[in-house]
């Protein structure tokens, strides 16, 4: 019997169903025979025989039961609209819903997701600092210098800053840096300079580069204050903090990004949680750099306290509280530490008062520099 018309006649025969054999899209009006197996019969011809145990449910619109069979072609489908026939089939097919995962499937997804989250968080909190510590010394110096070059040009573009090199000021600056560098036991590969930006800031770049912003010089009252800041930045270089930070922050944002299913790591949430994690590491590095600076100043026979005073002058009083997302320790705490470990000056001043004045005006003669307002992309104002 060959029924081209897809409609079933007005009074459907008992056990009527529609059958698609999975090899052609022809819709066949069939009747079902329930023997020890399910027989699918079109007219006189038996099209297929399905074992009840092999029958599985397939997705269907409401009001229809749609079945497939493990031993039939994968896409062979039997569609039953009649309620009584459907009930009969459901009662006979014991494994009907074996393919659908059900509650246990969801529980497995939820359970392993949480396990993955816990393990990623654990690696970020405990594993990455360890890895970064071990890995940073292994990074070749040439690579680190190259990174520094990139950061260098980006920072100069970002702040629209130039290197100040008015002769007298530069001479004083070199003298100051050299005495600190020698006392810190570092070689001549360290490069340093003053940048013409009004932000009160200083920072160390990977590959041995230290920059001081003119804005910090403007706020400083004597050479010791600046010396301590430079020593602090040299401490970052010595400990290769920026390399370590890069490895740690990069991997942290990558792993957290992975967790939230966004490889590029761009959403606000990722940014938030990354800040929380990385800043706690960074505070540790800052505390170490402070310790380094205190040591260097003592070796030079100069007090460390003025640097703390400069910091406090720059940041203003920071009130107590949970400052967990701050990248730096509180300025008060840093001053307290520097005062506690302070010794009175025993060595000669690092710069003569003339040299100090020259250093303070190192950016003069470049009128476009000092009066520049804070650039739009204002960085963390306390990178010291």
């Amino acid at each position: 019997m060959d029924s081209d018309a897809p409609e079933i006649s007005k009074t459907p025969p008992a056990n009527a169903a529609a059958y698609f054999d999975g090899t052609s899209s022809r819709r066949r009006a069939v009747t079902l025979h329930f023997s020890d197996r399910l027989e699918i019969v079109e007219g006189e011809q038996t099209l297929a025989v399905w074992d009840y145990a092999d029958i599985r449910r397939a997705d269907s619109p409401s009001g229809m039961l749609r079945l497939g069979c493990l031993t039939a072609p994968a896409l062979a489908r039997l569609e039953v609209r009649d309620n009584a026939v459907a009930t009969e089939l459901v009662s006979r097919c014991a494994n009907l819903d074996e393919n659908t995962p059900g509650r246990r499937g969801v529980a497995v997804i939820v359970g392993w997701s949480i396990a993955a989250a816990v393990s990623i968080v654990a690696v970020v909190l405990f594993g990455l600092p360890l890895i970064a510590d071990r890995l940073a010394p292994l990074v070749p110096e040439a690579f680190e210098r190259r990174l520094g070059d990139v950061a260098d040009s980006q920072i100069k573009t970002m702040f629209d800053a130039k290197v100040c090199d008015n002769a007298a000021g530069q001479k004083a600056f070199v003298k100051l840096v050299t005495s600190i560098r020698e006392s810190a036991g570092m070689d001549t590969s360290v490069q340093s300079g003053v940048l013409s930006s009004s932000l009160p800031n200083a920072f160390a770049l990977p590959g041995g580069r230290v920059y001081l912003f003119n804005g910090l010089l403007a706020k400083a009252e004597n050479a010791d204050e600046i010396a301590g800041v430079l020593a602090h930045e040299l401490g970052h270089l010595k400990h290769r903090d920026s390399m370590r930070g890069l490895i740690r922050d990069g991997s942290t944002s990558f792993l957290i990004g992975l967790l939230f299913g966004d490889i590029t790591g761009s959403s606000a949430l990722i940014f938030g949680s990354r800040t929380l994690v990385t800043s706690s590491h960074s505070r540790e590095a800052e505390t170490n750099a402070d310790g380094f600076a205190i040591d260097v100043m003592h070796r030079l026979g100069r007090p460390a306290k003025p640097t703390g005073e400069l910091l406090l002058r720059v940041t203003g009083k920071e009130s107590k509280g949970l400052s967990i997302i701050s990248t730096h320790p509180l300025s008060e705490d840093r001053l307290t530490r520097m005062s506690r470990e302070d010794r009175s000056a025993s060595g000669p001043p690092l710069l003569t008062s003339e040299e100090w004045r020259a250093l303070k005006s190192i950016c003069d003669g470049k009128p476009d520099s000092a009066k520049k307002p804070d650039s739009a992309k204002k960085p963390d104002p306390a990178k010291i």
Partner: protein, 385 residues
Amino acid sequence: MNEMSWPPQVPPPPPSSVPPPMPVAFSGKRGEFFELAKRGAALELVTLGFYRFWLLTDIRRHLWSNTLVDGDAAEYTGRGKELLIGFLVALAILVPIYLGYFLIGLEAEHYQAFASIPLIAFFYLFGQFAIFRARRYRMTRTVWRGVRFWMTGSGWIYALQASLWGLLMILTLGLVLPWRAAALERYKMRHSHYGDLQGSFEGRGWEFFKRGWWLWLLTPIALYIIPIAPFVYAGYKAIEWRWWLSGVRFGGVRLESSLPKSALIGLYWKVIGWMTLLGLVFAVYLALCAVLVASMSGEGLTEFFKTPELMRSIPLLVLLGLGYLVFALALNVVIRVYLTRDLWVIVLGSVNISGIEAAANVAARGDLANALGEGFADGLDVGGF
């Protein structure tokens, strides 16, 4: 239909002999879809987003299996696990690429600051590849009358074409968009099949342009006068849907759509309304959290708000993060209900099919494609549904 909420019993009553002979119909209930989206969002929250593979699958299963063409419902045979595997494979490939991107960028920056930006073009190419392969995956998981759709063609050739057209788009300020869409669609449809019926695309760029050029002129205005932007976008989508559907052919089967230009405007405004409402609720929640934390810190309210400590207190941050997550997921539910389900229903309602007899006896052919493209699309944030 959601696999978990489907009771393993007999389907509900209305088994009235035969569905009415209309070419395309949708039988899904809105409440059911809402339940599905709501439950999926909750599970996404608990699983930190991993559930998205299964939610996406459930959404497609619901939409596909309730779409009736010539009385017979389609079926989506893809599974969440396939998407997960596709994502993992894409991850394995994308991670070294990101690393290479980083290194190349480093080299480029060495010569000039920010010189690495053009490399983004490479990711555009990759995104187009992902779009093609994701479509192939979806097609091969689409089954109707026991026969699957399938696709041939090369993802890379498509990506190259799309990128060159993309370049032209930039040069002409978007004016070639209709011709770009037509050319890309021709490539996709030419390589699409239903059993042994080959697909093709008859839509012409010129027709698309004729219907939508005024939107191109309105776009710069819409960028200034934001309130008209939803009208422009909804109009554009409606024109695009209608033009696209009216061009789709499978052998002798021809689709036609009569979607009016204004058909989708209501949807977009409803979404904007819900966004505003949810945003307000979120803002009130933020204020309440701040006041609560401030009052617990013991300091005076005004003092607390003056200090930077406001942004540093952990309880506040945790409350904010949680609120933000719930806000984002609620928004997701709204977008899925309106812009996925309702849009699907409206667009389907506009479709008429002629020559459906050609699909009455089609021989099954074609193989399954893997979900790699879906994984890339997920990793690069490109993909549709």
